[in-house]
Amino acid sequence: MIPDLSLIVPELAMAVLGLMVLIFGLIIPRGSRHGLGWFAALALLGVTGLVLAGWNNGGNLYGNLYVVDQFSQFFKITFLLAAFLVVLGSMRYVDRHLGGQSEYYSILIFATLGMMVMSSANDFMTMYLGLELMTISFIILVCFRRLEAKSLESGMKYVLLAGMSSAVLLYGLSLVYGITGTVVISEVGKILAMRAPLPLLMLGVVMLVAGLGFKISAVPFHMWSPDIYEGAPTPITAFLAVGSKAASFAILIRIFVVGMFGISLNWELLLAILAAVTIIVGNLVAIPQTNIKRLLAYSSIAQAGYILVGLVTASQDGVKGVLFYAFLYVFATVGAFTVASHFYNVTGSDEIKDYAGLAQRSPLMAAVMVVAMLSMAGIPPLAGFVGKFYLFMTIVENYLWLAFIGLIMSMVSVYYYLRVALVMYRNDPLDSTPIAVSAPVTVTLVVAMAVTLFLGIYPGPVAEVVNNAAHSFFMH
């Protein structure tokens, strides 16, 4: 039987696109490679269109190893849009700091392909392959500034810690396989629902939480992320914070909500405590940071904690909250990091104190930074508020204490976000030359800000879509 390849057209297109960009980079002379960034960006939009065109075309492939449902398609759109914005925002950075190397775009496309495979994988092998395709691509991207010691060092840390966490995750997967006798996640769910949990299974679950907790940088497995976020090229930091995290949440949901649903009583509290610790530590440690990338790194740890809240109840509403938050988080994070990356291009600094008077030097950059940060803090007219509302609504009944922690820590986070805003708007600049913003960066910033505002004021349509996506997830 020939499998229905129409379901994986976007993935095939991404693989072809990645190879095409790689070959174009070799045959196009060095001076005229600038167009390659535009080509990659537009092609990524085209693949997004392919996913949208196949929105209602769900099903599974290869004997249920690969599932295409609206849940996975929503994640794919999220990854592709994130990749599109990152490519647009990084063209200048690539030319200036990465020597215009075209492999950058190609590897970025392969990382996105890995994420897409992760969101659709319905068995441990496919999931692991997608995860490693993403991770290895990211390792290369993190140390892409190969002449700079900081970038190499963070790449070294990433390869060692990612290898270790993959091994822990795999050990957990091998135990689950041994207990259930299958690697297909939906089969695992059926078998575990009928059987009392063994101690060995609990060991496996703890190892899965540890391995995936590393990937989403949940406390206490977060130690790598501030270092790697600081050392990596800034556009890659943005993509790492958004894409790698969202993709890991996709498999986390698939494993726990589908595979481990039958034993949910045994892991709900574990995830609730993990979420609480992540929210508390992420927000508190962000306060004393002086480097904008480290500040955003700790803030993204806290965001991971908020998203984890949606998993605690393993319900359709929780999955809906996670999808919505992952979507809006892309725009806020990419917006903030694009400002940081462009600021670094011009001034060569990542220190918050150098952002003094940014509002006078470039009103657009300052405005995007403030909107993105306030959205992450969850201030009402912005998207972050709606997202947090959906997430915390699911836990007020059974885990009220967690909702309290989330609310209090959101208020704490306003403090360090507003400190950046204060530096940008109140302080006078040391050097008052205006910062010119190039066209692709402007597009990225305006899109990020517009979507963040729009989702906050009028969340209806996207909420509807994520509702359907979450529903489709529970159909099979």
């Binding site: 963070s154 006798g181 299958t182």
Partner: protein
């Protein structure tokens, strides 16, 4: 006469011990290459696990064997990238000792 029979438990204990040694090495070794070797040790422990489960739990299909082949392949790719970074960083610093990588706070 003493009969020696190897059961699933023996394999699992062997794998757990190997995994523990690997994990301990990753957390304590200060040389980047040694840490990579310890990660390999952990992955090989997983392969033993997968093959033992394949033999005793699902003897009729080859899920565990296929899985372990994927693990071996991906591990090779990961070590390839890791060693490339080790070489690049050695050119920069003439050292592969993790204690000397202190530009970033560890």
């Amino acid at each position: 006469m003493l009969t020696l029979s190897v059961s699933l438990h023996h394999y699992l204990i062997l794998a757990a011990v190997l995994f523990g040694i690997g994990l301990f090495g990753v957390l304590t070794k200060r040389n980047a290459v040694a840490v990579l070797i310890c990660i390999e040790l952990m992955l090989n422990a997983i392969n033993i696990n997968l093959l033992a489960f394949n033999k005793y739990i699902t003897p009729n299909d080859f899920i565990g064997q296929i899985f372990s082949i994927f693990v071996i392949t991906v591990a090779a790719a990961e070590v390839g990238v890791g060693l490339a970074i080790v070489i690049a960083i050695y050119r920069n610093k003439l050292s592969v000792n993790l204690d000397e990588f202190d530009w970033l706070k560890w």
